[in-house]
Symmetry: C2
Subunit: 279 residues, 2 copies
């Protein structure tokens, strides 16, 4: 049974430590039942009241790395990896754009789209034969911050303004839809307003089992920020040079060499990329 110990969540709220929660998220990242149980036992042994969820996550992450389970560690750190895409939000848009390319959509990032009254900057426009999506990608560096109802409201007005213009020209797709995609929580009002108006609302673990983390897992696209062989400085430098995906790295050996990553570490890195992406 779990020790009855209070831990502090990212939001500042206090919750009881739950063995099963950690075990589940380790299993989801690919750890075997035995490895997951072993790690949770070690984490629990070191548990103290007042620890944060981040402390607990870090401990589990270090144990995964030590257990020679780097690809599992990389997947386990997905949420932090997405957060590390910040602070400008632009890599997050590109990342979402890549996901929809992988799903067979034609994608444009940061596009100016004319509306009836004004032109709008839309983070990601994705279309295929039937579908035409206008997506707002809301990135928060602070995981505790929720995307609130104001976002759903302005995305909705923007969408209607764009639709008025599209109707003038004659519709060319069966389905037009506004999306809000965020790397954090969506407020209850944001969800209620968006869904009440037929918008697609995607947040971290929302909808349950269809959240942004599932979207990422499905397409096997992983941000470079999830890797464990390279450090924070190297990740930041890659993002600044427009390399957002692990998948891009094998084609960018030139850039990796420029970063000073050669021979042994390069081999290790490319192995981790293959393991994480499952290619």
């Amino acid at each position: 049974m779990s020790k009855r110990i209070n831990i502090i969540k990212a939001s500042g709220d206090v919750a009881l430590f739950s063995r099963s929660k950690i075990e589940r998220s380790l299993r989801r990242s690919g750890a075997s039942p035995g490895l997951a149980r072993k790690i949770v036992n070690e984490v629990e042994a070191k548990l103290k009241s007042g620890m944060t969820t981040f402390d607990i996550y870090s401990a589990a992450f270090q144990l995964l790395k030590k257990a020679n389970a780097r690809p599992i560690a990389a997947r386990y750190s997905l949420k932090r990896a997405i957060t590390a895409l910040g602070p400008t939000g632009f890599p997050f848009e590109r990342f979402i754009g890549e996901i929809f390319k992988r799903k067979g959509f034609e994608v444009e990032v940061d596009k100016i789209v004319p509306g009836k009254c004004v032109s709008h900057e839309v983070d990601v426009v994705a279309k295929n034969k039937e579908k035409h999506y206008f997506m707002e990608c809301k990135f928060h560096a602070d995981q505790a911050r929720a995307t609130d109802v104001k976002v759903a409201l302005y995305v909705h007005s923007r969408f209607r303004d764009i639709m008025e213009k599209i109707k003038e020209k004659g519709l060319c797709h069966e389905i037009h839809r506004a999306w809000v995609i965020t790397n954090t929580r969506l407020s209850e009002d944001a969800i209620r307003y968006g869904e009440c108006n037929n918008m697609k609302m995607i947040g971290w673990k929302y909808p349950k089992d269809r959240g942004v983390e599932v979207l990422i897992e499905e397409t096997k696209l992983h941000p470079v920020t999830c890797l464990t062989v390279i450090d924070d400085y190297e990740k930041k430098w890659l993002l600044e040079n427009n390399v957002v995906l692990c998948q891009d790295l094998p084609r960018r050996i030139d850039l990796l060499n420029k970063l000073g990553i050669r021979e042994k570490r390069l081999k290790e890195l490319l192995k981790e990329v293959r393991d994480v992406c499952g290619e």
Copy 2:
């Protein structure tokens, strides 16, 4: 003729110093043509390249105070006085609410209004027999920041959601309208989008000759932050105690005493209030 000297605006842009602009704003605050000219001459004599509009404003303000023209100085400082209502924005909402009360509206500040999909927090709801206004009061402590199109967009969605609910119940007013009122500039897109959708858009000096500064002058309601007899600490304390208007002070001698303002200074203060408000 004006000296050809560059000054730095609040936005960081550079502009040529203009005698006539300062003279006009002094005249609008109530200075006689002679006094306005005298002050501009003195300001111009001290002019140096690289000065900010704030330096120039401060010099003119000090000269007005010295010239025994305190009520004119108080009105001259209106823009800064509104800015000093910050940082939370709540005193600005209350201030706008008082203006509409004075115009004969029934007013509620910070009201929860049900919509079709969700409930909304509306800064100011003002109504009379025919009109029903839903107002977003956007306060920026930084005068250089414009209120952008996202504000117009979310206010519009909010308004439509509220209207759907009102229609369900049956309309009770002839005119329903969404307002955006800000103490700073409105972006061009915000204005275009808002007016294209029949929203009322009010900013500093927008619309020309009908901006928020005219709204204030008309009703002769002045924020306590425009007074010159009390200092910044005292103003902040009054705002925290919900005293936003100069007009309220004569009824709140108890609070002023608590602040340590007694006898001679109290007399001076009440005289300035009468002079500023013209009562």
